[in-house]
């Protein structure tokens, strides 16, 4: 018989209790297609007290938030572990991230659809999206800075600070698109990723936009002679 050493047992069980709650919550939602009626009945069903739930999560929303953070962490891990990662340009890194994200979500599509439907994801990143958004932000911000240094992206006053927000918005768009996609193997989502992010990044790179601004400035300066 296997006897667990008591000292090491406490940490892992606490971790797994959190995980256990998450899994049980997902399971409940998938079976019932709704949130559990209350934390009390939910905890009781799992055979522990309400306080134990609250030690891990503040609400069901927090459980869903945790789901998305875990999805993000898995995606980030897999993306940056890719052998080619160091060699990739910013554009390819973003694309790889997005493709990996939708790939990772395949196994949990039903639950993802449920939370996407329940919680309108917006650029504001409120509610269950906030933690995902924050993690997303701290991952992409340094990548954007690097891309600006290398000259891949344009450093535009005012707009530069919105670059990560644009990628975040594009990511949410892709998730919503994916939620409604009915093509084989979600091929159309691949197309949405490829075309959408390429355009977003084109706009952040030196492009016609800069020339328009530049020309506008020129015209403004020379209003006198026009």
């Amino acid at each position: 018989m296997l006897v667990m050493p008591p000292e090491e047992a406490s940490e892992p069980t606490e971790l797994s209790r959190k995980d256990q709650i998450l899994r049980a919550y997902i399971d409940f939602v998938l079976n019932e297609n709704r949130q559990p009626p209350s934390v009390y009945t939910f905890s009781k069903g799992l055979g522990f007290s309400e306080s134990e739930f609250y030690q891990n999560y503040s609400s069901f929303g927090a459980v869903e938030a945790d789901f998305w953070v875990q999805v993000f962490e898995r995606t980030r891990g897999k993306t940056t572990m890719d052998l080619a990662w160091e060699r990739l340009r910013f554009r390819e890194r973003v694309l790889l991230f997005a493709f990996t994200l939708t790939q990772n979500l395949l196994a949990e599509r039903s639950f993802a659809l449920f939370t996407l439907k329940q919680n309108r994801a917006g650029e504001r990143a409120q509610g269950i999206w906030r933690r995902f958004h924050d993690a997303f932000h701290s991952f992409f911000e340094p990548l954007v800075s690097g891309a600006i240094e290398s000259g891949e992206l344009m450093n535009r006053r005012l707009l530069r600070d919105r670059y990560v927000d644009a990628i975040w918005a594009q990511t949410l768009f892709v998730l919503r698109f994916w939620a409604r996609d009915s093509s084989d193997g979600f091929e159309r989502t691949d197309e949405a990723i490829e075309k959408g992010f390429n355009l977003t990044i084109d706009l952040m790179s030196r492009s016609a936009v800069d020339n328009v601004i530049d020309y506008g400035k020129f015209l403004a300066r020379n209003r006198a002679i026009l």
Binding site: A84, L88, R91, A98, E191, E194, N198
Partner: protein
């Protein structure tokens, strides 16, 4: 829905161009402008308009490119600037990003290209109309890996709808009558996006055709092929145009031409199915002077009754009534025709038919013969001015069968090859 579109420069000039898509038997009317109107002002006009049409086409990508490619199948039919623009259309699709290539491989094979091949070039060497080609190496073999753009299949129907108005304007054909032909094109193009079917066909056709002299095929690799990927040997050779620019001697040109003739007529008459894409880009002249065939995406199967009626026309000593009976089977003459119409269409088709079967009537035919091709173009030019031919006629199967045969004739003419046309003759049961 109205098929009328505002009269633009494009429309005005396409009237002058009179080139085009071989819809039904109507195709010949488009073989018109080839030798005429080469004056510089004409060319400039063509250029401006080709530019304009190309601009609209290039926004379509995918299947529209395919149609453009189909139209540019032989550059003699379409004015040169026009053809060049269309040819360029093949290269305008944006290349797939590295991550999307990875994604496609993951989905088809569960592995990345780097895991599958000893070496895989992430930069594509060429863009085709519905995919792109990468070079790879595995166990010492040079490979060509064709990867399809995502969403091509889904976009075909909508792209073809977009291209409809262009087709009306370009070819002056009534809207409703065009639909049956557009569906035929749609079907073929849809088939071309089915890479699993293409792989099966490629393997089968290259096996069945293995006995042909001077024709070579790439080896295909099912283990490296999937829903969106086809892997084959990388054939090293020159495209026909490059080959011609090296000024090969007559004997070499004849050999290349004969290989192509054999390849096509073996398929038509022995297999009743034919590689219906005689685009010069689908052939390579290999270093040993043989012809390498690539791309079996477009295969046209000929139903037996169509085959018998069509090639029945090549029989010698047919009487006028027999020929008209065959025309009826081919829907070139319709039951609704009155005697005057029957006489009119019958006579005109008879003239065309006599031209079309000429290479079959002699054991050896010289495709360098400009006089023969001029007659074809003159006929097309004349017919294109006849209002009676505004309505397309003829079985839908004509589109690809004519495209194949006239495409072949045109390539042989470019080669200036002397061909033995009695090998693999039509097999008609009377």
């Amino acid at each position: 829905m109205s098929d009328r579109l505002p009269i633009t420069k494009v429309e005005r000039s396409t009237k002058i161009l009179g080139t085009g898509l071989r819809v039904g038997v109507n195709f010949l009317r488009h073989y018109s402008r080839r030798l005429t109107g080469a004056g510089s002002s004409q060319e400039q006009l063509d250029h401006a308009n080709a530019e304009e049409i190309y601009e609209s086409l290039s926004e379509l990508k995918g299947s529209a490119l395919k149609v453009a490619q189909m139209l540019s199948v032989d550059r003699n039919i379409i004015p040169k600037v026009f053809a060049d623009k269309f040819a360029a259309a093949q290269y305008s699709a944006p290349p797939l990003s590295g991550p999307l290539i990875m994604r496609t491989f993951q989905r088809d094979f569960g592995r990345s290209p780097d895991e599958m091949f000893d070496n895989f070039d992430p930069v594509s060497t060429q863009a085709a109309s519905i995919g792109q080609v990468h070079r790879a190496r595995s166990q010492g073999r040079e490979l060509a890996v064709k990867i399809q753009y995502p969403g091509v299949r889904e976009s075909i129907s909508s792209d073809l709808k977009l291209i409809r108005p262009f087709a009306f304007r370009l070819f002056k054909i009534d809207g409703k009558d065009l639909d049956v032909y557009m569906r035929e094109v749609e079907e073929r193009i849809l088939e071309e996006t089915d890479y699993q079917l293409e792989l099966k066909r490629s393997i089968r056709f290259s096996e069945v055709c293995r006995g042909l002299e001077n024709v070579r095929f790439a080896r295909y690799y099912p283990e490296f092929s999937g829903r969106k990927v086809i892997t084959m040997d990388w054939l090293k050779g020159q495209h026909l145009r490059e080959f011609l620019s090296t000024n090969p001697d007559q004997k070499t040109k004849d050999r290349v031409g004969q290989a192509l003739w054999d390849f096509y007529n073996f398929q038509q008459h022995k297999l009743r199915a034919v590689h219906a894409d005689p685009h010069p880009g689908n052939f390579l002249v290999l270093s040993d002077g043989t012809v390498g065939v690539i791309d079996f995406g477009c295969i046209k199967q000929m139903p037996e009754d169509f085959y018998q009626a069509f090639f029945g026309l090549t029989r010698e000593g047919l009487g006028r009534n027999e020929i008209f009976a065959l025309f009826e089977k081919l829907e070139m003459l319709l039951p609704s025709d009155n005697p005057k119409q029957r006489e009119f269409y019958g006579e005109n088709f008879l003239e065309m038919m006599k031209l079309a079967v000429r290479p079959f009537l002699e054991p050896v035919f010289d495709f360098a013969n400009s006089e023969y091709f001029q007659k074809i173009y003159a006929y097309g030019d004349r017919v294109s001015r006849m209002p009676e031919f505004k309505k397309p006629r003829g079985s839908k199967h004509f589109i690809y069968v004519n495209r194949t045969n006239f495409g072949l004739y045109s390539i042989l003419h470019q080669l200036g090859a002397l061909i033995r046309t009695d090998v693999y003759p039509p097999e008609v049961t009377s």
